[in-house]
Amino acid sequence: MTGVAGIWGRLWAIALNTFREAARIRVLYGVLVLVFGANAFAIVLGEMSIHEQARVARDVGLAGISLFGSLTAIFLGVALLYAEVQKRTVHAIVSKPIERWEFVLGKYLGIATTLTVLVALFTVAMVLLLLYQGVTVSGAVGKAVVLAWMEVLTVAAIAVFFSSFSTPFLSGIFALGLFVIGRVTPDMKAALGSEEASATIKGVLSVVLEVVPDLHLFAISGRTLDGQHVTVHGDFVSWGYVATASGYGLLWIAGLLALAMVIFQRRDFA
């Protein structure tokens, strides 16, 4: 079968199977319990005013989504594509009428679906806690969740990209490195402008800044944007900002997956 319907059918087949595979990974349930536990712990930190409790609940909830979501994205991204080659399950798949790029994309879509379910569950935990505390859930929280979700999907693409040519261990290190650096790009830019940094360091930094996705754009709460302090507890970014940042994330995802597809296309499965 050719055409869009055919492609979609094959992508869906791979994505569904990948979701099934991920749903069997026990660690994910551990992460869920951990994040739910952290949210619950925020309640126990009583002895605070309602205002402070709400702050803690939002901070813990959002940090849980973006941190544990990203770590899970790295874990799934580096493991699931590599395992197909390592265990040779890929042999019975790519000898069927599916293109290799469809396989890579289907794999990513399955991982992204898994992560989306996870982010949704984290969000439910956070919202339940906020409601329990009698705090109305603001639009800012919704925007922050969408941003964190986009970050998680971008990190997953980074991990899949590395695992298209590298072992899970190395891919994990690379992806984690990019995640950390991507979060501190503003500080690197600041260092670039400072007097103290040496020319070598500045050279390295400017190259790194060119090739690293600006993940801090997705974790903007508490930072300064266009000279204004933005926080999820008060004045936050506009939906326009969320759309722009999401577009930025999608561009990175598309670019990284395109590279992964090209690399995967040329690989020997022996």
């Binding site: 079968m1 087949a13 040779r88 798949i93």
Partner: protein
């Protein structure tokens, strides 16, 4: 899709070479060194060779899993890898490993989706195939609970979900007990009768000999011989086996008769021996009758495919001789 008009080749491999490089480029393995052969439409073609000969490598090139270093490979008239050709292809990988969390119906459903089969058709074919390969009682078990033989059956089923024109099986009988081997042979016969082209590899001669229309013998990355099992073997008369009934197979008369041949075997009132290919059989039989023996059987002894296989195996390698790994019955390890 256009079919080649000048040839009925379903698989066509020419001068195929593959050199594996280890990641650090220190070691090179020349797995294929100029492999050429054709598989015709509707035939069952056995790809025979000892372990490490290059069978799996050839099949991986044909399946588009690895790229050849040199040469060309076409399946169903298309250069590999071709999605159109794969639509009409069924493949059982060597030591198949599938998603072990799936059940057989789920595995077949996934395979069916990749061929673009509608849901109802997928279910119908899966049910029929599960029945055919004898896994009906294991329907609800995940593959990780399967034995080697059951996995092989699951692999055969997923290879047939698209009712392919060409099936490629890499070592379909390996790891199976004698009954399992026979069932695979029967399946191959059945596919052949249904007009399908079957290409399968094995390192066990008897498995290939009995089902193949033609056989290619591959050794150390090269094709040593191609032909029907009869063409490849049985061309030279090696000798004549004679069996006689005689009152005392250890008596003086028996000794005199037995002295005319070699490989003498004695049984209860029975004496057997082998005459040289150029012996005067009539004269020896008359000689035996004069001494009270009755002729029970006279049969020519031909070169067998096994003899050919063994002699090629020994000749093609002086060092890591494939022949040195030969076990009884032509089983190579």
């Amino acid at each position: 899709m256009s079919e080649p008009s000048d040839t009925d080749a379903v698989i066509s491999v020419e001068d195929l070479a593959k050199t594996y490089r280890t990641p650090f480029r220190r070691r090179r393995v020349e797995a294929l060194r100029g492999v050429t052969f054709q598989v015709r439409r509707g035939e069952t073609f056995g790809f025979l060779g000892p372990n490490g000969a290059g069978k799996t490598t050839t099949i991986r090139v044909l399946m588009g899993l690895i790229g050849a270093t040199a040469g060309t490979a076409r399946i169903l008239g298309q250069p590999v890898p071709s999605r159109a050709a794969r639509q009409r292809l069924g493949f059982l990988p060597e030591q198949p490993y599938f998603y072990d969390y799936l059940t057989v119906p789920e595995l077949l459903d996934l395979a069916g989706r990749l061929f673009g089969l509608p849901a109802a058709e997928r279910r119908k074919r899966a049910d029929a195939l599960i029945e055919k390969v004898g896994l009906a009682r294991a329907r609800t078990q995940p593959l990780k609970k399967f034995s080697k033989g059951m996995l092989q059956r699951a692999g055969l089923a997923q290879a047939l979900i698209n009712d392919p024109d060409l099936v490629v099986f890499d070592e379909p009988m390996s790891g199976l007990d004698p009954i399992g081997r026979k069932e695979v042979r029967d399946l191959i016969h059945e596919l052949r009768d249904a007009g399908k082209t079957v290409f399968f590899s094995s390192h066990i001669l008897s498995d290939v000999e009995s089902v193949s229309d033609r056989v290619a013998i591959v050794m150390r990355g090269k094709i040593e011989a191609v032909g029907s099992p009869r063409e490849l073997a049985g061309r030279t008369l090696l000798g004549v086996d004679v069996t006689l009934r005689i009152a005392d197979p250890r008596g003086a008369a028996a000794e005199e008769i037995a002295a005319r041949g070699d490989r003498v075997r004695r049984g209860d009132q029975e004496l057997s021996f082998t005459l040289a290919a150029d012996a005067d059989v009539d004269e020896v039989l008359a000689f035996a009758r004069e001494r009270g023996a009755k002729v029970v059987a006279v049969s020519p002894r031909h070169d067998t495919l096994e003899d050919l296989f063994m002699s090629r195996a020994l000749a093609s390698d002086g060092g890591r001789a494939a022949g040195a790994e030969v076990q009884d019955g032509g089983h190579l390890r």
